[in-house]
Symmetry: C2
Subunit: 216 residues, 2 copies
């Protein structure tokens, strides 16, 4: 059992938080205010093992903290979570740096920086791992919902943090061999920029329930 | 038989040009000067069906023109090729907008624009199709060199131009169902930004002979 703080009350945050509870973890969902309706409704619906609070409450609770806030709001949310509450923690950064929804979607930063790197620079005592931002929430938590093998990617500077995230992914059903370590935190650039191809694919397919597999 | 102009004498240009000759097309490889050693050596080694010349010679020759120059040099190369020589032509843009090799590689433009869009804006009478920039040259021309199915992507505003490019890819061995139209020319953003993930994967795999498949 791991104590997990999930920052963000959107589809990604609630999907991940519910799956973590289902797997037996103790989850606190955090938002800007303690009286957030979505977070409290989620916690009430989960029963034991689930709570709701501020970003700081969730970060304080978690041994692992998940950033599932909107990319443009992530640095502010993490500042509210608090440097001390995040110190030493594994932070799974699932956010994408969307600056405009377009279409076409606009990313910022892109090309020479990434949101994950900005977070790592702002919180040097936190062990940031970029993960799961390359697929829709339903696929994150139930990889078996797609036929055959497909891949999840990890980027981060701390090998033990990446190992912890891989373990969580394996618990969610990811075959260990499908969780690919693609490098240090700068490799988050590629994971974030892939979002734009992912959105093009989603538009051309007319659905979100797909992923990619590395072949060869 | 199609007359094809290939701009660029690097690995991508020579690999594509050789494969086009092998498939029976008439290819002129273009470079900045008519006495380029690499281009002339390539043409001499190919025999019938292959020639070398300036960017303008290659563009004038081609019904289809391939931009296989370095991304940072592409607009200058295409300017040298000449607006009139490119008018009405299908331009397959294989280049990536690498502004610095790092690591980590730096892309420019990224996030809110793409090289292919810049080319399309600069040459509105040319039918630009972004294609094949998402894999190493050997895989572009011999998709069967990897096990199982994997995908190539097309982005461009002109459906008939995309159909022409798909036909060329099918000739090179791509199953038609593995050539995915991901949208208009703005979708080139995702194809170009994917390069960064591709490079991270290449680094972690220790090789370039891989590709991705869309699953689901």
């Amino acid at each position: 059992m791991t104590r997990i703080g999930v920052l963000g009350t959107g589809m990604v945050g609630t999907t991940l938080a519910s799956r973590f509870v289902e797997l037996g973890h103790e989850v606190v969902m955090g938002s800007r205010t303690a009286d957030n309706e979505a977070a409290n409704a989620w916690a009430a619906g989960q029963g034991a093992g689930a709570g709701a609070g501020t970003f700081a409450d969730a970060a304080r609770h978690g041994e692992v903290v998940v950033n599932a806030t909107a990319g443009a709001a992530s640095l502010a949310a993490l500042a509210a979570a608090g440097t001390d509450n995040l110190a030493g923690k594994v932070l799974i950064d699932v956010a994408n740096p969307i600056a405009g929804y377009g279409p076409p979607v606009v990313l910022d930063p892109a090309g020479d920086d990434s949101l994950a790197e900005r977070i790592q620079r702002e919180f040097p005592g936190t062990r940031v791992v970029k993960a799961l931002n390359t697929m829709t929430a339903a696929v994150m938590v139930r990889p078996e919902s797609l036929p055959g093998q497909h891949d999840a990617f990890l980027a981060g500077d701390d090998p033990s943090a990446k190992a912890s995230v891989q373990s969580l992914l394996v618990e969610m059903g990811w075959p260990a061999g499908c969780v690919r370590d693609v490098g240090g935190i700068t490799a988050a650039r590629g994971l974030e920029m892939y979002l734009v191809l992912w959105l093009s694919l989603a538009t051309s397919l007319g659905r979100y329930d797909f992923n990619i597999r590395v072949v060869g």
